[in-house]
Structures are given as C-alpha cells and as structure tokens.
Amino acid sequence: MMKNESVINVKNLTKEYVIEEKESGLWSAVKSLFKRKKRKIVALDNISFSVNEGEFIGVIGPNGAGKSTLMKILTGVLFPTKGHVSVNGKDPHKNRLEIAKEYGVVFGNKSNLLWDIAVIDSFELSKSIYKIPDHVYEENLKYFAKNLGISKLLKQPVRKLSLGERMKCEIANAFLHNPKLVFLDEPTIGLDVLSKDSVRSFLRKINKERKTTIILTTHDMKDISELCERVILINEGRIIYDGTLSDLERKFYSKRKIRILFSASYPKIEEFSADGVLHVEKNGEEYLLVVELKKIKLKEFVQKILSKYKVADFHVEGIELAEIIKEIYRK
Amino acid sequence: MLISYALIKSKLISNFAYRWESIGVILASAVEMLIVFYLWSAIFSWNNATEINGFTLTSIITYSVVAIFIRLICDTVIDGEMNYDVKTGDIIVMLSRPISIRTHYLSSAIGYFIFNLLFKFPLAFVIAILIGIIIPGLDTFLLFILSIFNSFLLLFAICFIIGSLAILLNEETWSLWFLIDALSLLFGGFFIPLVFFPDWIQAISYLLPFHAIYSTPLLIYVGKTSGIDALLSIFVQIVWIIALFIIGGFVVEKGLRRIEAQGG
C-alpha cells in the first residue's frame, strides 16, 4: 500500500528566541534588576521539507546551526514561532504526549535509560510506559540480541557499561516499541570504530526491514555516507541543501583535487589560474589545486605542469564528503 | 602549616557564586527566630511569669535567637564536602598535594566562615535586632567573640571527624550530622538552656562537647557566666577542641591507610 502522506511535513518553519544579555560584575547585576538588554536570535529561518516513510535522512550542520532546535521542534519539546509542522499527521507540540508514543529518540549526550539499574529493568519500564505487548517485546529483545549483540549487557546496570555498550542499549530502547519514526541525535559520538560499525549495520538493517523512518544528526561523515540516501544541510538556521547524497557527490565528483610537490623553482600561484581551475593553495612546499573536469582535460593539464616544472610527487584525488560539506558551507 | 591562605581565598571566591542561595538559609533562620520569639512570649504570658529557671523573657529570647545566629554563622559544610570528595574519588587527588587533609578542609571551612560573615551575618543581625535582643557590654562582647571562634573550631572538628569516617569506612556519613544536630538540642543548650533539663542530663552534657559549642558562648552573652567563670568555660572549649582534633587526626590517619591499601 502506497503511503501518500509524508511522515514529517515542515512548512515555513521559523524559530526565534529572545534572550537576555547577561553581563558580569556587580553593577550589571544591580542594573539587571531594573532593565535587561534583549537580543533576538533566529534559530531556524523559514525552512521547509518533508520526509516520507522509510527514508533515512542525515541532518548535517555546524554547531549552532539549528539542528538540535529542529529536533526539539519535531519532537514537540519546543514550539515554532511561525510555520507548520506535522509529524505523523499531527502537530507535535499540541499533541506531545500522544506522539511521544509514536517515535523513539536517542540523544547522544544524555541518557534515556535509568542509570543505576540493569538494562533489562529499564527496558521493562519502557515496556510499561509505551504499553508494548508481550510478544512484540520478546521479539524485539531477540532481534536486538542478534543484531546489536546486547544480550550479555542486559543484566548489567547502565553505569557499568562502556560508552559503546551504553549507546547500543539506548538505541535498542529507542526501537523497542516499534516506532515508525526514530530520531537519533549524534548517536555515534565518542564511540570506538567497532561499535560504530555495529551500530551502523543495525540501523541499516532495521531501516530496510521495518521501513522505520530515521532522522540522524551527526558530525561523522561516515555515518552519512554509509546510512543516508538523503541529506539536509543546515547552516545558520537555513537549509542550504536538501537532496540525495549521490546528487551531492555527482555535483562535486566532477571536481578533482591535485596535490603537487615541486622539487625546485616553486611557481607562483597566479601561474595556475585558468578557466576551470577552481582553487589554488600553497601549504609550505605542497600545492593544492582543485579543478573542474567539465572545463579542463585532466591529462593535458597535468602533462603541461610536468613538462614545465620539476615535480617530485603528485596525487590526484576525488573530493571527500567532508570536503564537499566544507565547500558548501564556505559559500 | 595549619591553614592555606590561598585555599581560603579560592573557597571564598567559589562560594561567592552562591551568595543568592544564602537568602534561603537566612530566611529559614529568620523563621526559627520568629518562632522562638512567639513561643517564649506565649509561654511567659500564659504562665504570668517574669522569670523561668532564672531567665527573664528578654534574656531567654536573646539566648535562643543568638543560638540560631551561632548555628547560622558557624555552620561548616565540611562533612558534606568530605563525603562528596570520597564519593567522587577526588580525595585521592588531594593525597598527592603537599598540604595535609586537615589543612585543606580547615582552610575551606574558614573560607566558608568568612563568606557567612559577609553574606549571612548582616541580614540575620538586622532581624535579630528587630526581634529585640539584648546588646551586651563591650567586655562581655569580646569574650563572646572569642568563645564563638572556639565554637566554630569545635563544629569544624566534629564535622571533620564525620568526614574522616567517610574516608575510613568508604560510606556516606553525612547523615550523622542529623545526630549531632539533635544531640545539640538536648546536650548543647541550643535554643533551650541546659538549666531546663534535669540534673542527670546536665551531668551527661558536661561529658560531651556539645555544651561547649552553644551553651558556653550563649551564657556568656546573656551574662549568666562572667569573669573567671567565663574564662574557665572558654578554657574548657579549648580542651575539647584539642581532644576532637586529636580524635579527628587519628581517624583520618586510619582512613588514609585504608585508601593506600585499597585505592579508594
């Protein structure tokens, strides 16, 4: 059955805060009893997007770009200044308690599980809170044991677990009640490589098998490249890119990075300027050029350099995702 | 060295951030002082008395209010601090520093004491005056100040023992303070002078340090002890201070042995 309704629908969402300027010192403290300077911050500026069922979306942006604000609005923890938000067809803020049953959430730096009791006891508590039927509960426990490898962790109190182990349990807890939508806020932060891998394969699997819609915010580009078909880039409260990862790469894939180490006579940077040379940089002895393949024939270009100068070493590389993102933000 | 000025200063500054929270504690003390005022006034008027157990209405109100005052100012939170450091493991870091544990906490307590003087004393003093306590003469006042200082050291010594027990037993011992507080009610002459209690209780109280914390300075303040008697009671305070410091030192030593063996 085709789902025409989107799971998340955001239209013209704007979020503004008014904060009071705090100053230090005794005199300011006294002044602040009477009048406080106020400043308006625009956390999100007229953003719109929608998410369909089963999508796995990555949300990227520098710190302070508005990612957490967006997450909070989608979960109903914050309400918008302007615009419309609908999650599962409802206004998340007005129906906060109701939609809380329909999604799962993991905040990377905070814990949803109770600290001092065994993981399984926290799961039991979640079972009561979300009214999970027995058979669903048992099934999921088996599923997590198999795909996240947490069965030996269940009897231990959360505080005794390593960060990686704890995060796996938090993720299991988020999926425990079979939500159609899961928000993951920096779930792989601070995890070792092995844990990251197992978390990623779990998320990939559950997204494919259960068509769970997943919204992931992260700073780790590998999370994005391994899991998300679609990325949303946010900067300063605005969406600056919303599209598939492959489109993003294709746009930049026609660019190449060339690193050249000259053995003698260092050329001036201006010597390389030509149509199609997008960027020239000199870092000590190494030169970095970025060229657009649509305008420059790579073979000719390189041969020209090799014949004109004495070259000790050179590399040609594609653009990494992290660099692509940086590029976009630089604009 | 016995105290570290640097530590005193840093504790004073760090407590400064909590100066607004003091309002809560001052309020609580103000409430207690008001209760004391109403309670004794009611008792005296009901019984149509001018004197009970040798105390007039003003002198007993003064006694009780100043008792609350002493507790407010001399309050040291060292037992809580030490417990916290044991729990978080910070106590081990302290062992690697060149100052002794007692020096560390005594300096911290003095820092807090100065903080109390600066932020709690003024407001509480105003309230006490409004209630109408007696202001003593200068020589009484000087003796009083001296005995207050001893009370502070006594409270510190007791809290230090409680904290050291935490180091020794690796358990949370801060609730023992409730015990001390309660015992001060009975054996310390806090709020109700010792003469109100039967002789056998008064006898026991002289075997315990609590009377030296409250009863001693309070009786000096209201003029019940003066001259030689006052100096004698101050001497008794000093004896208790030394005794408690020795006990504290002993407990903390044992505690440190345990940490060295177990690693905290």
């Binding site: 805060y17 909070k72 979960t75 109903g76 923890v77 914050l78 309400f79 906060r96 308690l97 109701e98 809380a100 049953k101 999604y103 905040f107 905070k110 814990s111 949803n112 109770l114 001092d116 009791i117 006891d121 926290s122 508590l125 009561s128 809170i129 979300y130 109190p157 | 607004w20 929270e21 309002i23 809560g24 504690v25 309020l27 609580a28 409430v31 008001l34 209760i35 109403y38 309670l39 009611a42 008792i43 009901w46 019984n47 009970i52 358990e171 949370e172 011992t173 609730s175 023992l176 303070w177 409730f178 015990l179 309660a182 015992l183 009610l185 109700i192 109100f196 209690f197 039967p198 209780i201």
Partner: protein, 261 residues
C-alpha cells in the same frame, strides 16, 4: 488510573536503583530517627518546666509535632523528586522527560525515591499513636476518617506549595535554595498557631498554608474550638490550591517549550 500505575512503576525502578547503591540504609535511618526522638525528649523536658504552652499540654503538642512530621516525611518519601526540577532544567535533561509519553510531573516527582526516609515516616506514625494514647480521646470512626482525610489534605497542600516554588525554576532556574528554605519554614507548623500574631496566622493558612500540615488535622482530634471553621474548608481549599499549582506548573512547561532554555 493509568497515571497511578505508572507512578508506582517509576517508584519501583527508583527503589531498585536505591537498593543497588552501596550506601548503608542504617547510616541515614538511625540518626534521623534519633533526631525525631530527641526532639520529643526536649519537648518533654520543656513541658516539665512550663506545664503548658497556651493551654497546650505535652500530649497535644506531641500530636501536633507528629502530624507535621508525618506530612513532611511523606513528602520526602513519595514526592522527593521534586527537588530535581532545577537540576533537570539546568542540564537540559528536562527535554528527555518531555519526549516520554508520561506526564512530566509524575516523572519529576518519581525521579528520587528516598526510601531511607521510611524511618522518619514510621516514627511519625508512632508519635501520633502515642499522643492519641496519652490524650485518652474518644475516637469514633468519623473522627478517625476526617483526621486521616485532613492529613492527606495537608500533604496535598504542602505538595502544591512546593510545586509552585519548584515551578519558578522554569523562569529563574534558581528555585532550589528557596525550596529548601520553604521546607525549613515547616518548623512553624510544629507549634500551635495561636501563639503567632494574627497576621502570621493568616499567612500560615492562606499564603504559605503550613497550618494545614499540622494544626487543622490536629484540630479534628483536639477540638480546641479555635479556628475550627478552617477544618471544614480543608479539603476544598487543598483541592483548589492543587489545581492552581498544577496550572502554574503547566504554565512553566509552556514557557520552557517556547524558549528551550
């Protein structure tokens, strides 16, 4: 009702946490129980000297003290978590509370289950029973019923007061010391209201209703005839007060969800 079941589930989880903790119960229970006992001993000796305070005998004062300590012990025991509001707001943990499909107030109230306070609770009950025995009062079923009812009203009233003060944290984030001070103010409740000035009596009935924590329930038994009217208003007043404080709490949440702190 659902909320009640969830309340007990959370309490159960917190109890499990507390039992996991290595800290010895006795180190809290023994001193706190002793503190209660010594309070009574001091009162006893005071009364020997004074015989009566404003016509209140030792047994009557014991009842007053017992009811007050029962109400406050119960608050520590069953709703102790309310102290954590400021902490949750400061650390942003309140966001997590809002993402769970459970009433945030229940989550906050159950965030701490200080089972150690059970000692104080039991001794408060003992104080009351002792006082009743000493008083040699005729206890009929209606009297017992209204006594217990008013104690519960006292609990609700003080809980509402504490809720209001805790809610301030949504705006100033500095309610904790005020909260502690309010609990300290509970000492007012341990003494007969008549000794206070009429302004103070008004304050303690309508503004900071500590009167309900001890005086009015005790009136049911003692029938001193003073301020008796308020006894009957008890349930209504505490109910209204709770509604007010709960609305204020929701207002606080609304403010939190608009600024996100």
């Amino acid at each position: 009702m659902d909320s009640i079941k969830l309340y007990f589930m959370f309490i159960k989880a917190r109890l499990m946490e507390r039992l996991e903790y290595k800290t010895n119960f006795m180190i809290y229970i023994v001193p706190s129980v002793l503190k209660h006992i010594i309070e009574i001993i001091v009162l006893w000796f005071l009364m020997i000297a004074i015989v009566e305070i404003n016509g209140w005998t030792f047994a009557e004062l014991l009842l007053l003290n017992g009811v007050a300590s029962l109400v406050f012990s119960s608050l520590f025991l069953f709703a102790g978590g309310i102290r954590n509001v400021q902490k949750y707001i400061e650390t942003g943990d309140f966001d997590i509370i809002l993402t769970r499909p459970v009433n945030p107030l229940i989550q906050v109230v159950t965030s701490d289950f200080w089972i150690d306070e059970i000692g104080g609770f039991i001794i408060s009950v003992i104080k009351i029973l002792l006082a009743l025995a000493l008083l040699d009062v005729q206890l009929s079923l209606p009297i017992i019923f209204s006594f217990i009812l008013l104690i519960i009203c006292g609990f609700i009233t003080i809980f509402s007061l504490i809720l209001i003060i805790a809610t301030i944290a949504f705006w100033t984030v500095k309610s904790e010391s005020l909260l502690r001070a309010t609990i300290e103010m509970s000492t007012f409740a341990k003494y007969p209201l008549e000794i206070y000035s009429s302004n103070l009596i008004f304050l303690l009935t309508f503004v900071l209703p500590f009167g309900f924590a001890s005086y009015y329930p005790s009136e049911v038994i003692l029938e001193k005839g003073i301020l008796r009217e308020f006894v009957f208003l008890g349930p209504i007043l505490s109910f209204i007060f709770f509604i007010l404080s709960y609305s204020f709490w929701n207002l606080g949440i609304k403010h939190y969800t608009s600024t996100g702190s």
